[in-house]
């Protein structure tokens, strides 16, 4: 499909794209500012109180803190535009390389979680929502609100107690890459993520199916006598799906946050554990790089989520 900019649709998409890029720019600005506006000098903080003056000065230079803030910002943007996220203080590897080495694992199990969660949420949300039985709706809502309120690390600990400590089904140490061997280590984190995601996604789908159900156009659909499959798609699911899509793209960001904890618990060498390690080692460039990476990913996920939802249902505001 060729996108024309002079149509209303083209203009809307163009505007939203501009917005995504400008938010990304601000994400970089904030990531830059965090290290500079916090009290104290990062270099001396990292090296400790007893460090020599020359060592601190050397580190300041390595971090690019030895010039004035404006020049620092120019250098920072210049490096970023060349795809240079800096170099790790601990391993000496470029941050971009660290991310590209650790992110695939994280992406794998998040993608699996979303796939299963979507698959499970649709029948649950549609069945309970379409029945609109008050007792079902409220018991389901209560159950999911309990799951949502439970911190994922506590769910993980209980799961480990059952599946790893009492039975040796899900090892929590010694991750081995390579499919399908890695599934032995990944199935439990995927299951936990899926449980949490299902609770969130199906709630929203349920609410929009209930809304759709009382719409006038559903009546006309029934009266028109459309086939069961067409009815399910065009009169139940498609008009209800947009809020779910928007939420899922938003949840993707939250899930990235949650990976930090799950990867630590299950000793998975993903990007989340890398971040925690970098924080504990005061490895500023790595922290900053991963922060930017997460921020930009979240911005563009929500951009594509909005866009997809809009193409599905024109009532969505872009």
């Amino acid at each position: 499909m060729k996108l024309k900019l002079n149509t209303p649709l083209g203009r809307k998409i163009f505007g939203r794209t501009i917005r995504a890029f400008s938010i990304s720019f601000w994400v970089m600005v904030i990531a830059f500012a965090l290290m500079r506006v916090t009290p104290g000098d990062p270099a001396s903080a990292r090296l400790g109180a007893g460090a020599e003056e020359e060592a601190i000065e050397a580190l300041r230079e390595q971090l690019g803190l030895n010039v004035n803030p404006f020049q620092q910002f120019i250098n920072y943007i210049r490096d970023l535009s060349q795809g240079d996220l800096g170099t790790s203080l601990v391993s000496g590897l470029p941050v971009g390389e660290i991310i590209s080495k650790t992110f695939p694992l994280t992406l794998t199990y998040i993608a699996f979680s979303f796939f299963f969660a979507f698959l499970i949420s649709i029948p649950i949300g549609v069945l309970i929502g379409w029945s609109n039985k008050a007792s079902w709706v409220y018991s389901f809502r209560t159950f999911t609100s309990v799951v949502i309120a439970t911190p994922n690390f506590f769910i993980a600990m209980v799961a480990i107690l059952f599946f790893s400590v009492q039975r040796d089904w899900a090892p929590v140490f010694g991750y081995e890459p390579g499919f399908p061997g890695n599934m032995k280590y990944l199935w439990l984190p995927i299951a936990i993520n899926t449980l949490i995601l299902v609770s969130i996604i199906s709630r929203v789908l349920l609410a929009s199916v209930i809304d759709t159900r009382s719409e006038e156009f559903v009546e006309t659909g029934i009266i028109r006598g459309v086939s069961r499959i067409r009815f399910f798609w065009f009169y139940i699911l498609k008009p209800s799906l947009a809020p779910t899509i928007v939420l899922m793209s938003y949840m993707a960001g939250t899930m990235l946050g949650a990976t930090v904890i799950l990867e630590t618990i299950f000793s998975l060498p993903g990007i989340g554990r890398e971040l925690v390690g970098a924080v504990l080692a005061s490895d500023y460039p790595v922290v900053q790089g991963i922060l930017i990476f997460f921020g930009v990913i979240t911005v563009f996920l929500s951009f594509f989520g909005d866009l997809f939802a809009y193409l599905l249902d024109r009532r969505v505001k872009l």
Binding site: L34, A45, P151, F153, I261, I265, L275, V276, V279, S282
Partner: protein, 276 residues
């Protein structure tokens, strides 16, 4: 009194609200009143490490031989207290900024603050909190600062949207045209309307913030030992999960208890909203 509670419970969502409020009150009251009826201090060594739950120590002892019941309750001010600060400060700042933005006329200022809000909100809250620990260092006090610096943006966005809607409302428009002073419009119409919206969000945000505080501590980035905090206790228990499940499970249950009590209230309120 009892009759009034019973009447309230009969309203849609009333039962959930009452259960939630009593769950929340019970854990806070017991938590703050702990010194009265628990004879052990949270950091006092009272027996062998990893002793199982008994009549004397219903929640067992941890790896160092500290009473778990005392520690779980001692963590109430740390978790619920910090979460309260971590919600109320951003709530106040965010609502204020949001309302000001709705009134602001200066284009440059508007787009600048708007972009900062969008930029901050782009980061998952837990991620940006973790990153800030790198620069500020661990500790519960720093967690409060981080939440104050980063969480207001979500409130500001809600408040700005709401305030803009209120300002377009006919009665406010009329008040403006009749030349009511701005201050009066803000206080009489905009503030109550906006704050009811941000307060509602604050309630559900409370759950998220409790999870973030305990999550940071779980990772060793929040509360520092020997302070009693649920997340860090769960982390302590991780190594002993096989031989001493109580170190992990009881703090976890306390955490769930608090979060679920709030979510029952949120659920009840939303059910009441839908019924009316």
């Amino acid at each position: 009194m009892i009759k009034r509670i019973r009447d309230y419970a009969a309203l849609p969502g009333g039962f959930g609200i009452i259960v939630g409020v009593s769950m929340f009150l019970s854990i806070t009251v017991i938590g703050f009143a702990r010194p009265i009826f628990i004879p052990y201090a949270p950091d006092e060594l009272v027996g062998d490490g990893l002793a199982a739950p008994s009549w004397q120590h219903p929640f067992g002892l941890d790896q160092l031989g500290r009473d778990m019941l005392s520690r779980v309750l001692a963590a109430v001010p740390a978790d619920i207290g910090v979460a309260f600060l971590g919600v109320s400060i951003p709530l106040f700042i965010g609502t204020l900024i949001g309302i000001l933005l709705a009134f602001a006329k200066n284009k440059v200022f508007l787009s600048l603050v708007g972009s900062i809000i969008d930029g901050i909100n782009a980061f998952p809250l837990l991620i940006i909190a973790i990153a800030m620990v790198t620069f500020l260092g661990p500790g519960l006090f720093n967690v409060v600062i981080i939440l104050a610096l980063m969480n207001w943006a979500r409130y500001a966005r809600i408040a700005r949207t709401r305030a803009q809607i209120v300002l377009r409302e006919n009665y406010v428009e009329a008040a403006r045209l009749m030349g009511y002073p701005r201050r009066k419009i803000i206080f009489k119409h905009v503030t109550p309307n906006v704050s009811s919206e941000t307060l509602a969000y604050a309630l559900s945000d409370f759950i998220l913030v409790i999870v973030i505080i305990s999550g940071l501590s779980f990772l060793g980035l929040g509360a520092r030992p020997p302070a009693a905090e649920w997340g860090s206790m769960i982390a302590d228990g991780r190594v002993f999960l096989g031989e001493a499940w109580w170190i992990t499970v009881f703090p976890g249950l306390a955490l769930c208890w608090s979060a679920i009590s709030i979510s029952l209230i949120v659920e009840g309120l939303s059910r009441r909203d839908r019924a009316s």
